[in-house]
């Protein structure tokens, strides 16, 4: 959970004095959650980092610790994205134009490349192949597919942005940087497909008043995507 939500232990302030700040932090975190679509408010009250997430009906997959944990975290997200776009191209939605198909095929290839790169880079430390669960997405409908694509891309951007500071190795940080901007390009193009020539490509719904994208911690991201994967992914030690 967002570190801002952890109780202050060294301030010496009374409960009543800290609550307005904590409440605001909580609401801010909840706002982030809502924008990603699937995080229940109730779960935001728990310490997600120390307990496995409920709801999966498969194995438990632990991402590991340190930089390896962060890279496995990225590998897990790329697996989901690659599987999603592979399905989109295998079963195109009704009325998919040639231009849309070209874009979605490009993105599919990028995500497969990211997935295979992380798999190779992690070697025997890589987590297993995950089993996606896209039962909630109607792949025959353009709105549903592009809406899910937007969610995955925005989530990917926020995830990489939030994971950057967890990396200890500069080489790994640079790699994450090389990939996150491509995810951001995807997000902008998908958003422009949904609402062409609008401000949505970098919309006020996702950016803050400083003109910044989101940066979200692994626990919150894993919570947001857990409905899309059958395994239960635990990331309590990512970056630690």
């Amino acid at each position: 959970m967002n570190k801002l939500l952890k109780p202050e232990t060294n301030s010496g302030k009374r409960e009543g004095e800290t609550s307005p700040v904590n409440r605001r932090s909580f609401l801010r975190a909840a706002g982030i959650a809502t924008s990603l679509g699937t995080i229940a408010l109730a779960s935001a009250c728990k310490d997600d980092e120390t307990e496995p997430m409920p709801g999966g009906n498969g194995d438990t997959v632990d991402l590991g610790s340190g930089d390896v944990g962060v890279l496995n975290y990225a590998y897990a997200l790329e697996q989901l994205e690659a599987a999603f776009y592979s399905q989109v191209i295998t079963t195109p939605y009704m009325g998919m134009t040639d231009a849309e198909k070209t874009i979605l095929t490009d993105i599919r290839d990028h995500e497969i490349i990211h997935r295979e790169f992380f798999k190779a880079a992690l070697g025997d430390k890589a987590i297993k192949g995950l089993t996606p669960n896209f039962a909630s997405i109607d792949f025959t409908k353009k709105d549903a597919v592009l809406g899910a694509a937007k969610l995955f891309e925005d989530t990917g951007v926020a995830a990489y942005n939030g994971a950057g500071k967890l990396l200890k190795d500069g080489g790994n940080l640079l790699l994450a940087g090389k990939i996150v901007s491509v995810e951001a390009r995807h997000a902008a193009v998908i958003r422009d497909l949904i609402n062409p020539k609008s401000a949505d490509f970098a919309g006020d719904d996702i950016l803050d008043a400083n003109g910044m994208d989101k940066a979200i911690a692994p626990a919150d991201i894993l919570n947001a995507v857990k409905g899309y994967v059958k395994e239960t992914i635990t990331g309590a030690n990512v970056g630690k």
Binding site: N10, R24, H114, A121, Y160, G170, S181, L207
Partner: protein
Amino acid sequence: MDIFKIIDNFQKIDGDALGRLEYATRRHFMSKVGSKLATVAVPTVFASIVNKAFAQSAGAVDVLNYALTLEFLEDEFYKAGNAAAGLIPATDKTIFTQIGKHETQHVAFLVKALGTKAIAKPSFDFQYGGAFGDVFTNYKTFVTVSSALEDTGVRAYKGQAGALIGDPQILEYALQVHSVEARHAAVVRRLAASVTGNAAMKGWITGKEGAVPAIYAGEDNLTQGGKDLKGLASKTDAAISEAFDEPLTKEAVLAIAGPFIKP
């Protein structure tokens, strides 16, 4: 005086104040306020702590001022472009208004973060010594320069990530701006492809494809993390190059941006 009420009020102006406050520990904050409250106006103390929270190291100050230089450049560019009568077609005005808004926000953020250490705004020559003489009268030129500025911005921020690895909160802010520049770049590249009739130019960078070739040097790299990815997953070189954006050093960026900045 209720310091939490002040923080609350500050957040109404700046929703992310708390995030920055993480950097100065609560203990530090409270002791500093406690010791100076009697003689110094709280907002002044608060501002100095916020500044201190950002500018932890001399290296970070350098990176932030470097970023500020580029954001000043972008901000002034879009202010001029958005104000130029008849330049941007009505259909594309929303996009450039949104981009311009973000660049203004980035400048304001960096100026506030750097406080007294912020550099002064340079004077700019957007005609680039004559190379882009019609930049504010010819939409093709404007979009071309815009796409080049955005892609350069992405490469510039990416190139500084490693320098901020010891300043985690500043690193995170830099990443949060970096991905916004990439969003800008993608949408403007697609506009540029359309306006200039270059179908090879996509939202992502294929090989070294871009409107101003000099700034795409190295974008066709296929080696990542010490591994040659050629042939990975049976994908083309084009797709592999698109999947990774490449950084630029500060020296390379300043060589590109230099002619925009009047001496």
